[in-house]
């Protein structure tokens, strides 16, 4: 088993999860689990970076660490580490955060496996492993009916679509006679059934990425769930989902070219619906849910290009979306998730206020933040593939998005709210948000190395 060493990050996360489960007895403090989790996740990230690309597929072609897999694994590990660091500081009061830390690590583990899966079976199991903790995290406040209702909606809709996806997998298996991507890619053209199979698979993935018209669960689930878990669920699983979509698109699109048209439809629906519905929202979580739908729309725009640079841009853009929106949700978790909880933030915590400016502007796509470079590469790929009309819609919609993102800014800077800090200033939560800020600004300015990593993958 030569490749065992390659999956040290996964083992680390697994160990971290177990330790987190029994943190109270081992370390006495409830949040210790999250702290341990943060450490293991950072180590996992380091290990993933060190291992880097490994050519021969592991264990008979089930898992393979190519360029995209490594990049997204590192991103997942880093984001999970930052999230756990933040969790260690504040926890998910009033509930205890041991289980949350464990679930986060298991979800991250699932995400990592999803990304490197090269076989339908491994992919299906890892997707389940990645989304199951999300159900629990969304319903984490077990004695709050709203949170549970959100979780139930998420559970039922997600279950239906993953069963449809599984049905699609079975058809792929029927056509190719095997579940490995390589064999499926080379399978003879299977006509209508092949089309249906691809359609079912992507319906499942669209639901995971909350792309319109399969996004209905997201606004309700996010609004019910505690802002802390939304921060994780709306970002890390999406990273893994994007990587899987890119890989499956590369495998399935040659067989079913009208898939690209489906991406266009989904992208258009997501961008328009996401941006417009976000306008009248007053609850930050619901607003960020619709913003998630919109940004998935932009990502699908890159996928609809169907070219290698388009796929690379899609993955890069999802990272460019995940980092700032996790930060915004963490701030919302600290300050309170209603828009007027943000009022007077500039007076209370000027540093956090100015940092939220960086995050919001990155989501709008204003340079020099990472969002702009994401959009730049995305539009380049889309224009190269001739998607001019869609790019114009995307461009107009990103201007519209400035409208509702700035309502958060206006509340923070120009509305006057209570001036004493609502939550004691804890070091590690500020460090966590700080890391995200540097990532948003930093990556924006040093896009070179990150993008070299990605484009090499295709």
């Amino acid at each position: 088993m030569i490749g065992v060493g390659w999956f040290i990050p996964e083992y680390l996360l697994l160990a971290g999860a177990f330790v987190a489960l029994f943190a109270e007895w081992l370390f006495g403090r409830d949040n210790a689990g999250a702290a341990v989790g943060a450490v293991t996740a950072t180590l996992a990230a380091l290990a993933a970076v060190l291992i880097g690309v490994r050519e021969p597929a592991f264990s008979g072609g089930l898992l393979e660490l190519d360029q995209v897999a490594v990049t997204v694994r590192v991103a997942i590990a880093v984001l999970s580490a930052v999230y756990l660091l933040w969790l260690a500081a504040r926890g998910t009061a009033p509930e205890r955060s041991r289980e949350a830390a464990a679930l986060v690590m298991l979800a991250a583990l699932g995400g990592m496996l999803m990304v490197s899966a090269r076989d339908l079976m491994v992919l299906f199991i890892s997707i389940e492993l990645a989304t199951m903790p999300a159900y629990v995290l969304m319903g984490y406040r077990r004695d709050d009916a709203r949170s549970l209702e959100g979780a139930l909606k998420y559970f039922l809709l997600s279950m239906t679509t993953s069963l449809v996806m599984l049905y699609g997998f079975s058809f792929l298996f029927a056509i190719a006679g095997s579940t490995s991507f390589a064999r499926i890619a080379t399978a003879p053209d299977a006509g209508l059934l092949g089309g249906f199979a691809a359609l079912f698979v992507f319906v499942g993935l669209f639901a995971k990425m909350s792309a319109a018209p399969f996004h209905f669960w997201a606004p309700d689930a996010y609004a019910g769930a505690p802002a802390a878990s939304v921060a994780f669920v709306s970002t890390v699983p999406k990273l893994a989902g994007a990587a899987v979509m890119v890989r499956l698109a590369a495998v399935l699109v040659p067989g079913a070219p009208s898939l690209l048209a489906m991406f266009v439809i989904a992208s258009l629906a997501s961008m328009v619906l996401g941006n417009l519905a976000a306008f009248p929202q007053s609850d930050i979580r619901r607003l960020m849910a619709y913003s998630g739908v919109a940004h998935t729309g932009y990502m699908l725009l890159a996928l609809s290009a169907g070219t290698a640079s388009g796929n690379a841009a899609a993955v890069f853009y999802t990272i460019a979306y995940a980092v700032p929106s996790m930060a915004i949700m963490l701030i919302a978790a600290e300050e309170g998730s209603e828009l007027d909880d943000f009022a007077g933030l500039a007076a209370r915590r000027p540093a956090i206020a100015w940092v939220s400016v960086v995050f919001l502007l990155s989501l709008v796509g204003v340079p020099p933040m990472i969002g702009m470079f994401g959009k730049l590469m995305l539009f380049t790929a889309a224009l190269e593939a001739g998607r001019l009309a869609l790019v114009i819609v995307a461009v107009i919609m990103s201007v519209v998005s400035a409208g509702y993102y700035f309502r958060i800014l206006r509340a923070a800077f120009f509305a006057d709210g209570s001036s004493e800090p609502s939550v004691p200033l804890s070091l590690s939560s500020t460090v966590a948000i700080g890391i995200l800020a540097i990532a948003t600004l930093g990556i924006g300015v040093f896009t070179g190395p990150l993008f070299r990593l990605l484009t090499a993958g295709f």
């Binding site: 159900y135 077990r142 009916a145 279950m159 069963l163 599984l166 049905y167 298996f173 095997s178």
Partner: protein, 107 residues
């Protein structure tokens, strides 16, 4: 009668399609969360039939289909467990399992 001619992969896949559609109907129409979960189990079952049939007819030696079916069963078992725990927790708060009553989150 077509039914009597040798039973090939087509009939199994047809059976699984019918079963899947019935399950889908159940998931879409039933008001009680438990009934929806049961319909979802039905759909999972259909998929397993499909997998095993394909494995049997196209590549029995590799057994991939059957193994896939096993894992699918494991997953759906885990899902139903989690789903029912969620339904019971929600019942404890709302004293009902009717999906229609769950409209507090909207807009």
């Amino acid at each position: 009668m077509t039914l009597l001619q040798p039973v090939g992969l087509l009939s199994f896949m047809a059976l699984s399609a019918v079963l899947f559609s019935l399950g889908l109907y159940g998931a879409l129409s039933r008001k009680s969360a438990v009934m929806v979960l049961m319909s979802l189990e039905l759909m999972a079952n259909a998929i397993n039939i499909n997998l095993v049939a394909i494995s049997r007819f196209s590549a029995p030696a590799e057994l991939t289909g059957q193994i896939f079916a096993v894992f699918s069963m494991v997953v759906s078992a885990a899902e139903i467990g989690l789903g029912l725990a969620l339904v019971i927790a929600l019942y404890r708060q709302r004293k009902t399992v009717e999906i229609d009553s769950m409209q507090e989150l909207k807009g």
